[in-house]
C-alpha cells in the first residue's frame, strides 16, 4: 500500500549528498547522486546501529561511516563486508519541490 511522505525540499538537497530524514517515525537516509537522482534507504546500517547518512556517497554506493560496509543505494544490496544483510529501500518521487518517500505500510 502506497504511503508517500514528504521528507525534504529539492533545493535543500544538493547533488552528491546524504541527508538524514524521517518519514512517519521511520529514519530515512535520503540519497541524491551527483547526477541529481534521488534514492531512499533506511538510515541504519544492517550490521551495526549507526546512521548511513553519516557515511560517504560514491556514485550509487553508500559507505557506512563505522566499519566501511558498502551498499547499493538503488537495491539496498551489500557490496562490501562486514554487513551481509541488505538495507531496506523505499520508492522516491518528486512532486514540484517536494521529495516524497513511499514507506508503504511502515
Amino acid at each position: 500500500m502506497s504511503n508517500q511522505v514528504a521528507v525534504a525540499r529539492v533545493p535543500e538537497v544538493p547533488p552528491g549528498s546524504l541527508t538524514a530524514c524521517e518519514a512517519a517515525g521511520q529514519p530515512i537516509c535520503l540519497v541524491r547522486t551527483d547526477d541529481g537522482e534521488f534514492f531512499a534507504i533506511e538510515d541504519r546500517c544492517s550490521h551495526e546501529a549507526i546512521e548511513l547518512s553519516g557515511g560517504d556517497l560514491d556514485g550509487r554506493t553508500v559507505e557506512c561511516p563505522l566499519h566501511g560496509s558498502r551498499f547499493d543505494v538503488a537495491t539496498g544490496e551489500v557490496l562490501d563486508l562486514p554487513a551481509w544483510l541488505p538495507v531496506k529501500t523505499f520508492p522516491v518521487a518528486v512532486a514540484g519541490d517536494d521529495v516524497l518517500v513511499d514507506i508503504g505500510d511502515g
Binding site: 551495526e48 546501529a49 549507526i50 553519516g54 561511516p65 563505522l66 566499519h67 566501511g68 551489500v78 557490496l79 562490501d80 563486508l81 562486514p82 551481509w84 544483510l85
Partner: protein
C-alpha cells in the same frame, strides 16, 4: 582471577552479541601500567571519537588497498619464501617446515607492510619486528599476570620494544612516507601510487589525532598486535581442520581450487578457534540480557567466544565439529562472534575475509592457496603442539611441502 567474583558469565550467542553491541557496556581500557604503549590507540576511544578514527583506518581495508597489499606484498613474499625453501631440502630430500613459525614470519612482514615499515620485508627486519610483537603482546596481556616482579619485567620489555619499534620501523617509515607526499606535491608521483599504509595516513595527518606522536606509534603497535597472530593461527588451524575433513571426505579435494569453499573453511575455523578467549565489558546501568541474565550498573559481564560460537540454538547439531557447509540462520555470520562486534569490531575482518562472496583480497587465502599449490601436508611423524598457556594456539605444527619445484625458478623479491 582478573574478574571479580560477581562478574556475570554469559553462555549464549544472543547474550554475547548484546554485550558487544549495546551502548550500555564499555570496555575498561584504563589499566595504568599499559598506558605508555596503548594510550591514544583506537581501541581506547569510544562513541563518536571512535567512529571518526575508525573511518580513517577503514581505508586500509578497502578493496583497492587489499588488492595492492596482495599483489605488491603478500603473494610475492610467499612465492619468494617457497622459492627459498625449495633450495634447502633436509638430508633425506624432504622439504620440512614448522607451520606456525613460517606463517608468523610471513604475517609479521605483511603487518609491517600494512603499517608502512618496509624494513619488515627483509628477513632481519621481519625477525626484529616479530620480537617486538612478542614483547608488545605480552605487555598488552600483563593484567593477567599476578606476580608483581614478573609484571614489572614484562612492562619494561614492552616499553623497550616500543622504543625499538619507534626508532627502527616507525621513524624510517614516516620519513619515507613524507618524502612520497612531497613527491606527490611536486607532481612527481601520482596520489594513487602511494602505498595504502597506516604510516601513510599518519604522515598525511588523515586524522588530527595522528599529529600526536604517542598516539601514532601506539596505533601502529595495535595494528601489529592484531595483524600477526590472527591470520597466523587461522592458517594453521584451518589447514589442520581441512586435512581431517579431506581424510573423511576425499571427494572434497575437488573443491580446493574454489575460493568460496576456502572462505567457508576459514569462517568455520574462525567459529571454532577465535583469536581471543573471553570478552569482558562493564555495565553503565542495570541491564537484562536476552537470556534473562542481569548485570548491575558498574559491574562486569563476560563471555567466551567458543561458548557463544557453539550455542546449540544457533549452530545446530554437531556444533563442535568442523563442517564448512554448516547451515546457519541468515541473521548470524558464519564466523560467529570471532571478530568481536559493536563499534569495536575488528578491522581485520575485511583483511581476513576479503570481498563479499568472492573473498578477493582475503590475505590469508592467498597464502593458503599457494601453500596448497606447493603440496603442503602434515608431517606424518610429528603432530601439532599447542602453547602451554590459556590461548591454546598452535606452538608447533611440522609440515612437509611436496611440490616446491614450480616455485624454485621464481625471482626473489
Amino acid at each position: 582471577m582478573y574478574l571479580p567474583d560477581d562478574a556475570v558469565r554469559l553462555e549464549t550467542y544472543g547474550d554475547m552479541v548484546e554485550l558487544l553491541r549495546s551502548p550500555t557496556f564499555y570496555l575498561d581500557t584504563g589499566y595504568e601500567a599499559t598506558q605508555p604503549f596503548t594510550k591514544g590507540a583506537l581501541f581506547q576511544l569510544d562513541g563518536k571519537e571512535h567512529v571518526a578514527r575508525r573511518r580513517v583506518l577503514n581505508k586500509l581495508a578497502q578493496p583497492a588497498a587489499l588488492g595492492w597489499h596482495r599483489d605488491e606484498v603478500l603473494v610475492p613474499l610467499v612465492r619468494s619464501t617457497l622459492a627459498e625453501m625449495s633450495k634447502h631440502p633436509d638430508d633425506d630430500g624432504v622439504y620440512r617446515a614448522d607451520l606456525p613459525q613460517l606463517v608468523r614470519t610471513l604475517f609479521t612482514s605483511f603487518a609491517g607492510a600494512l603499517i608502512g615499515a618496509e624494513r619488515a620485508l627483509t628477513p632481519e627486519g621481519s625477525r626484529q619486528l616479530f620480537h617486538i610483537f612478542e614483547r608488545n603482546e605480552a605487555g598488552f596481556r600483563v593484567k593477567f599476570v599476578y606476580d608483581e616482579a614478573e609484571r614489572r619485567r614484562i612492562i619494561d620489555e614492552a616499553l623497550a620494544a616500543r622504543a625499538e619499534f619507534e626508532r627502527d620501523f616507525f621513524e624510517p617509515g614516516l620519513q619515507q612516507a613524507r618524502e612520497r607526499l612531497a613527491q606527490v606535491e611536486a607532481g612527481e608521483l601520482a596520489e594513487s601510487d602511494l602505498p595504502p599504509t597506516l604510516i601513510g595516513l599518519i604522515a598525511s595527518v588523515a586524522h588530527p589525532d595522528y599529529a600526536d606522536r604517542t598516539t601514532a606509534v601506539n596505533e601502529c603497535l595495535m595494528l601489529l598486535l592484531g595483524a600477526v597472530d590472527t591470520s597466523s593461527n587461522l592458517i594453521v588451524q584451518e589447514l589442520d581442520l581441512l586435512w581431517d575433513w579431506l581424510e573423511l571426505y576425499p571427494d572434497e579435494r575437488s573443491r580446493l581450487p574454489d575460493r568460496r569453499f576456502l572462505l567457508k573453511v576459514s569462517q568455520e575455523t574462525l567459529r571454532l578457534h577465535s583469536a581471543f578467549e573471553t570478552m569482558t565489558r562493564w555495565a553503565k546501568e542495570d541491564f537484562t540480557f536476552p537470556s534473562g541474565k542481569t548485570v548491575k550498573a558498574g559491574r562486569p559481564a563476560y563471555g567466551t567466544y567458543i561458548g557463544a560460537n557453539s550455542d546449540p540454538a544457533v549452530w545446530g547439531e554437531g556444533l563442535l565439529s568442523f563442517n564448512p557447509d554448516r547451515e546457519i540462520p541468515q541473521a548470524v555470520p558464519h564466523y560467529g562472534t570471532s571478530f568481536g562486534g559493536g563499534i569495536r569490531q575488528c578491522l581485520g575482518l575485511r583483511i581476513v575475509l576479503g570481498e563479499k562472496d568472492t573473498a578477493e583480497g582475503a590475505s590469508h587465502l592467498d597464502v593458503l592457496r599457494l601453500f596448497l599449490e606447493a603440496g603442503i601436508r602434515p608431517d606424518p611423524e610429528r603432530p601439532m603442539e599447542l602453547r602451554p598457556d590459556e590461548t591454546g594456539h598452535p606452538q608447533s605444527y611440522p609440515v612437509v611441502f611436496t611440490n616446491l619445484a614450480p616455485f624454485a625458478s621464481l625471482v626473489e623479491v
